[in-house]
Amino acid sequence: MRLLVVEDEPDLLAGVARALRKQGYAVDTALDGEEGLHKAQTTDYDAIVLDVMLPRLDGWEVLEQLRVSKETPVLMLTARDATADRVRGLDAGADDYLVKPFDVAELQARLRALIRRGARRARAALEIAEVLIDTVARTVRRSGEPVTLTAREYAVLEYLAMHRGEVVTRTALYEHLFDDSDDTLSNLIDVHIFNLRKKLGADFIVTRRGHGYCIE
């Protein structure tokens, strides 16, 4: 999962990015509205965390311009908790909002819900054949037995599971799982897929030659 965080306070930006990376997300950051909008328009993020008060372009304007071309789920961070502000944010196309100060755990939970909704999955647990993926605890069980995955392996599995039945290209996987700061070689995805097949069964992830991967 790849996220964008737009926040003008560098310390807060660093803290939020760190908290989200810890959860296995690939996180891009932007310090002002213009940069944020540019990144949001050029990359397919799974969700965007957008502060309302931003230099150059405020959160409302970023949201408005983004909605012209993209449906990316947006979570607004606002310093105002007046009802009128929340209504305005939701009306403008924000998918959720969080009032500062917030707890990190709440931000993480709301983002998980947002990403699930973006993938049209209502439940936090994904069950595919004998494999159960708990997106809250970030654990995987196969026939009731815990399976140990690395953070990257889990991220690949979760993304494929979220898009179950769809063919996911290696580029899409690359884009959604690694952020700008990552210089991982693309062929490492093949390594993760290989490891996942070893742990979850050879047929669990199907390779469509020339297209990509798919969980059926």
Partner: protein, 468 residues
């Protein structure tokens, strides 16, 4: 005597008294002038009669007596009049014509005393020392002339009719005066009412402002008048007052907003650090202390913002029917753990108490009162909650049997950040704004919150909310 303190009554009394004095003065003068002039006319007539009579009574009498301007020339008067009989007859004839009576005293001739038939009996002889005079004898007025000591001619008449007339005049004047006074008082009342109306407007507006409705202004009817100018000055004062309150509320709100981001930074980093693990015990404790402080700041920010919104009247309140008894049952669960920790027994005596208001905000008050009662209560003590309806109000009472609140603090207990015990430890996690918020919410509902306490016996908080 509240009536005499009122400006209206004082003006009315002064004005009435002054007007009455003027009326009495004028009336008495008119009465006196009329009475004196009538008496003067009577006296002149009588004196003229006495003069004529004197001539008649003398031996060398002049022509027949003429009485006043309307004298009766045909009256037969023998000349000279000597005989008593003749004199008496002459006098009697004259007497009957005008209602006068005559009396003559003679020194050297008989009869010594002659009176006309209509004369009252026992006319006393006037003092001989005066040559002439007028006297009042009961209802009779008499003029006499004594050219020689002992020879006296007296003319008198009854003034009963005149006295009655003058008396009637007096009553007329008095009646007219009272009516005039009544009319004048009515006009005065109207004038004073008109003059005081701006003051009434000012006092109504000022009273509303005193209860916190800062948007009130005086309706200035006439800006040119003295009171109109005063109202204008007061209005601009009220405007400044409102602006300064608004500024204060805005400042509190802005400051709280500005604190949001830094507190978020602290919370985020501390929570990251704690979640990532790998900390030594000391580091973990330090981060946990930071986390507690940041969470407290966060609650304080929320409280300050809520207060600022309540101050500015921007806190949107719902108007629904709320039963305080049901509210207490809900809030009881929230504070249950806290009470259990201090082994405090929560007893409730809940009668239905319905009022109109915002259930969330009212629940906030009840939770705050319960939380405070448990926090300040004695370990193993008791907190009693009572709800009931009385006199058109819904009442909730929260009483603890803790150490109570010293008398000198009771008046400040609802102030922001006010702490009874300045050195109290155990304030961790408390914002110091709970009671101020409770009061602001109660005020916004048009209710009353009050505290009673006897040191050493506990404190009792009572909230009264209007039913309608």
């Amino acid at each position: 005597m509240k009536v005499f303190r009122s400006i209206r009554w004082r003006l009315q009394l002064w004005y009435g008294a002054l007007f009455a004095a003027v009326l009495v003065g004028l009336g008495v003068t008119a009465y006196e002038v009329e009475a004196v002039s009538r008496m003067g006319r009577i006296d002149a007539e009588l004196e003229r009669g006495a003069f004529v009579l004197n001539g008649v009574a003398r031996r060398r009498g002049p022509p027949p007596p003429r009485k006043g301007s309307t004298g009766s020339p045909e009256t037969p008067t023998p000349r000279p009049v000597r005989s008593t009989q003749a004199l008496a007859e002459a006098l009697t004839a004259a007497d009957e014509a005008r209602g006068f009576y005559y009396a003559v005293w003679r020194k050297n001739e008989e009869p010594r005393f002659t009176a006309s038939a209509g004369a009252p009996p026992d006319i006393p002889k006037p003092s001989e020392s005066e040559p002439q005079g007028v006297r009042q004898r009961g209802r009779f007025r008499e003029a006499f002339l004594a050219p020689n000591p002992g020879d006296i001619a007296l003319v008198g008449r009854s003034i009963e009719l005149e006295t009655a007339e003058v008396l009637r005049l007096g009553w007329l004047l008095a009646g007219g005066g009272v009516s005039l006074l009544a009319i004048a008082m009515a006009i005065g009342w109207w004038l004073v009412t008109r003059a005081l109306r701006p003051i009434q407007d000012i006092s109504v507006a000022a009273a509303k402002i005193a209860t916190g409705d800062l948007a009130q202004r005086i309706n200035v009817r006439d800006g040119e008048s003295e009171l109109g100018a005063l109202a204008g000055v007061l209005n601009s004062t009220f405007a400044r007052l409102e602006a300064s309150f608004a500024q204060q509320a805005r400042f509190t709100g802005d400051a709280a907003h500005e604190l949001r981001t830094p507190v978020t930074v602290v919370l985020t980093h501390v929570q990251n650090a704690l979640a990532e693990g790998g900390l030594s015990e000391e580091q973990r404790e330090a981060f946990e202390a930071c986390l507690r402080a940041a969470q407290r700041m966060r609650r304080m920010i929320e409280s300050l913002l809520q207060l600022a919104r309540l101050d500015a009247g921007q806190e949107a309140m719902r108007h629904e029917t709320v039963d305080l008894a049901a509210l207490v049952v809900d809030c009881r669960e929230l504070v249950g753990t806290m009470a259990a920790v201090k082994r405090i027994t929560l007893t409730t005596e809940l009668a239905p108490a319905e009022c109109r208001g915002d259930a969330d905000r009212l629940g906030q008050i009840v939770t705050n009162l319960l939380g405070n009662a448990i926090h300040h209560g004695r370990e193993g003590g008791e907190v009693r909650v009572t709800t009931r309806s009385e006199d058109g109000a819904a009442v909730v009472i929260v009483a603890d049997n803790g150490p109570g609140i010293p008398r000198e603090h009771l008046g400040h207990i609802f102030e922001r950040f006010y702490r009874v015990d300045k050195a109290r430890t155990g304030t961790a996690g408390r914002t110091g704004l709970g009671r101020a918020i409770s009061k602001a919410i109660v005020d916004a509902h048009g209710g009353v919150i009050a505290v009673e306490s006897v040191a050493g016996e506990g404190a009792t908080f009572t909230v009264r909310l209007p039913r309608g």
